[in-house]
């Protein structure tokens, strides 16, 4: 379980997270939605300790992430993260991308790591691309590669930060498909997304972030179909309009 307790995060004078409290339960898919700049990415980066926090606490399976006594590198093995900009390692083949961390972090033998990497590439449907450099892969394939790379550390939790936002529309489906597969397998996931229909159909719970605070949280049906807060209602109206515009542009 991930327990987020009154977390405050500032960048200089700018307070980005203003006391966020939130639990992520084992096996659930929690979607984080909210306007640009509301602090969604920052929150994910705080959860796996990529960003320090200025107040509060984040506890993952009983271990405090920002406690100086915590071995953050050990803790990060539990927390896979996938970014909007796939961030594949461009000098390594797909297989080597996935095998690197198992080898140098989990200290597996080279052949073990490669076998494990192949297994995870197969899992996300990239088995045939093992020998390709990332530059030879499409955006959707690179994003699935990033997912496989995170999965190879056999994490308990997966954090996704707008993983489909940089993709061409026709490549979004394959990545969402992979995420649905993970959910079906029982992975605990925190998904930052602008894709309201994905949140509606896949999320167990949805949290709406507004200016660094959790404005509204509940089941997908509660938050998306019957939002109580005026900020949530306004945000959802805008998002629907935006995706309609997008659809029109695609059709036109």
């Amino acid at each position: 379980m991930i327990e987020i307790r009154s977390v405050r995060k500032t960048f200089g004078p700018l307070e980005v997270l203003k006391g966020i409290s939130l639990d992520v339960n084992k096996g659930e898919l929690l979607c984080l939605i909210g306007a640009s700049g509301s602090g969604k990415s920052t929150l994910l980066q705080c959860i796996n300790g990529l960003e320090p926090i200025q107040g509060g606490e984040i506890i993952v399976d009983g271990v405090s992430v920002h406690d100086p006594k915590t071995n953050i590198n050990t803790l990060r093995r539990k927390l896979g993260i996938v970014f909007q900009q796939y961030n594949a390692f461009p000098h390594l083949t797909a297989l080597e991308n996935v095998a690197l961390a198992p080898r140098v972090v989990a200290k597996r033998s080279r052949s073990d790591a490669r076998a494990l990497a192949q297994k995870h590439l197969d899992h996300v449907g990239l088995g045939a691309k093992a020998g390709s450099l990332p530059s030879k892969l499409s955006g959707g394939q690179q994003q699935r590669l990033a997912i496989a790379r995170a999965l190879a550390m056999e994490p308990t939790y997966m954090l996704f930060d707008e993983v489909t936002s940089a993709l061409d529309p026709e490549l979004v489906g394959e990545v969402l498909e992979t995420m649905r597969l993970l959910k079906a397998e029982g992975m605990t996931m925190v998904v930052v997304t602008h894709d309201i229909s994905f949140a509606r159909e896949s999320a167990d719970r949805v949290a709406f972030l507004h200016q660094g605070e959790v404005c509204e949280i509940g089941t997908a049906a509660e938050v998306i179909d019957r939002p109580q807060q005026p900020q949530t209602q306004k945000f959802l109206r805008r998002e629907r309009q935006a995706s309609l515009d997008m659809l029109e542009r695609t059709v036109a």
């Binding site: 990060r76 896979g80 993260i81 970014f83 961030n87 390692f89 000098h91 961390a101 140098v104």
Partner: protein
């Protein structure tokens, strides 16, 4: 032509001496290249950071190495230390001063390369549980070397040319050996033409082997 006759036979008599000198040159070039690289990698990271004591140390190093004559750097290590009764052999003095110079230039070359690598590569590596040194080792440096490769090898060759200053402190490197041989025979031209040719060949050999290493590393 006003009557200079080339006598090559004297050169061939001294050729073994020059080869021995060339071997010293190759050793110093190679060692100073490695030492410079090993020092420059953490210094480049420190420079990139832009603050802290490591930043100040490496910035001073870079400033000194790049803004003072190489011959002055050599003299500091040879005669300068001698003034404090620390006497080191000319071989060590040349090795240290060329390494010092290499490290200064390489730091700036590496720093340029580092700034070409997106910050997210580091986040991605760290997020997989790699430590900071592991991330540099396996993710950042391999990409950086690809970007800066030519400038980096050129600095290695520049280091070799700098090592010829060793003659001034009595080092029997290629230049030192050539200087000695021509001073007993007075066939200055011939000797220095041959020595220049040997420097050229060593430089090309270095470039060529570096290129092979590059091809092997990056499969390109």
């Amino acid at each position: 032509m006003n009557g200079y006759h080339f006598y090559w036979s004297t050169v061939w008599q001294s050729f073994p001496l020059m080869l021995a000198g060339a071997w010293v040159t190759i050793q110093i070039t190679f060692l100073a290249f490695i030492i410079g690289t090993v020092i420059a990698m953490p210094m480049a990271v420190a420079r990139q950071k832009g603050e802290g004591w490591a930043y100040r140390v490496s910035t001073s190093w870079v400033e000194l190495a790049r803004n003072t004559p190489a011959v002055f750097q050599l003299f500091v290590f040879y005669f300068g230390l001698g003034a404090f009764h620390i006497n080191i052999p000319s071989y060590a003095a040349v090795l240290i001063s060329v390494s010092f110079n290499n490290a200064g230039y390489m730091t700036e070359i590496f720093r340029g390369g580092l700034s070409a690598i997106p910050r997210q590569q580091m986040s991605a590596a760290r997020s997989l549980g790699m430590t900071s040194p592991q991330s540099f080792m396996h993710v950042i440096f391999p990409q950086m070397f690809k970007v800066i490769f030519l400038a980096y090898i050129t600095q290695g060759i520049w280091g070799m040319l700098n090592s010829s200053l060793g003659m001034l402190v009595g080092l029997q490197d290629l230049t030192g050996a050539t200087q000695y041989a021509q001073s007993v025979s007075f066939r200055t031209f011939e000797f220095f033409i041959v020595a220049a040719g040997m420097y050229y060949l060593i430089a090309k050999g270095l470039q060529f082997s570096a290129l092979i290493a590059f091809r092997l590393m990056y499969r390109s």
